[in-house]
Amino acid sequence: MRIVFSLLASIFLISPASAAQAPAVKLQLALNWKAEPEFGGFYAAKLAGHFDKRGLGVDITEGGAGTPVVQMVANGKVPFGIAAGDEVVIAQARGADVVALFAVYQINPQGIMVHPERGFKSIADVFNSPGILAIQSGAPYTLFLQAKFPKARVKLVPYAGGIAQFLTDAHYSQQCFVTSEPLLAKKKSAAVESFLIADEGFNPYGTVVVARRGYVEKNQKQTRDFIDAVRAGWQEYLRAPQSANALMVKLNPAIDTETMKEAADVQKPFIVSTGTQPADLGKMTVERWTTLTNQLQEIKLIQSKPAAARLFQKY
């Protein structure tokens, strides 16, 4: 009976506990997108041996559109994953006990990019002028902006990805990561202006490392080591992104070396601000989580409010 059970357990659970006897603990970090500067610090941590040094053999797996990272973490398929701050709140509100451990982006790079000829000064202008805005319907930031600008004159249309339509239509604005699509558009020699949704007051932490609470409580040292290594990796990447970029270009050839480098530069102010100490990288506050939770309830994405202090853990 015991044998059958452990056999089943080894099939169904990729349990880190069962691998604990091995010299290096095998761990997985599931990304929610392809390798890009957004994840640079994780690859840097691996390359510089920050994980190995702590006895962790970390496998970073790329994701794609619709990879259910939060569910994979909640169900114990992977110990660590990357999610957006709002996903953590929504997961907890629906009963999945997922906690945030490290937030790469202190300022969320989600934005709206527009043609500068239109003379817009803010997202309010985009919403209150005629034209087209391609934006993911149902996304938290979309619902937030729709609630903030109820008398919008702009026509909201589905966002199909990419920037093709933006390049051909002067009345077309679209969602973007200000660290990504505007760079692509400039490469095609299009003039671009972009505004941050964070400036309108919706600023969830971005690129957040998450884990299941049960896992964190059972593997406290391992989790601390993992986050320490991640922080060291990000310090590395902010200082010298070249080797991690080279690896990521190999993994994701859709982005060339030059764009990787540019994006790594552009994203810096979203990760650190003046006065940020290296040891502060990834830190989160209960105030920010409270604000986010209130906002998500106002736009009716969650019915019950999880306690802000239980949404994250400090390392």
Partner: protein, 257 residues
Amino acid sequence: MTARARLAAFLPPLLPLIFSIGLAETAVRLQWVPSYLIPAPSEVFRSLLDDRIELGAAAWETLSSALVGLLLSFLAGTLFSVALSSSDLARRAFYPYAVFFQTVPIISIAPLLVIWFGFGRPTVIASAAIVSVFPIIASTLLGLKSTEPALLDLFKLYSATGRQTLWMLRIPFALPQIFSGLRIASGLAVVGAIVGEFIGGGGLGSVVDSARTQQRIDRVFAAVLISSILGLVLVGAVNFVSALSLGHWHASERKPS
């Protein structure tokens, strides 16, 4: 119909439904499958109730777009088929291009439709028309080509004009095939409309898109359920017209007496 006969009519299709709903509910409740892979039917039902106003409006928008698309593909498809059936040369020249509509993966050209027709309804209608036109062409052409030769001879004997032969013989003779083409096309028109809405916006396509973003799989299934009901409604409408126009003469629609 007596109560017993009614029961006998409805029970066979009802049993698999009840069984599969029960199975899905049990599987999710007992956590055999995680609820983010398959939602519990009770969740889907609750979502249908909670969001009924939004879903209803979306369903109406999708249905009307699908209907216009179907109408367009019916008109265009029938005209095209009549033209092709009148000349062997024309058929050999153009029929292969009709097959194009059958094989085009609509999801891959949908972004182009937006550029051609703009965001909103025109794109949705075009998408519905493109996916639904081929079965209409194929069946109508088959119908128009299979007129009984003896009857054609009879018409010739009475020196009927080409137009008379078309309207009084070939088209009526092709009606059963035309309707079976329409039946296939009507389900496809709903699919085409929803795919168009993914890109062009509006209707059930937008509901699915937004629910997927929020990982509300129960709402996704609710929308899918409604879209299949829309398909049934359209097929039912075609059946109704078919019974009206064929009932008094064609074997396929005549009631057993």
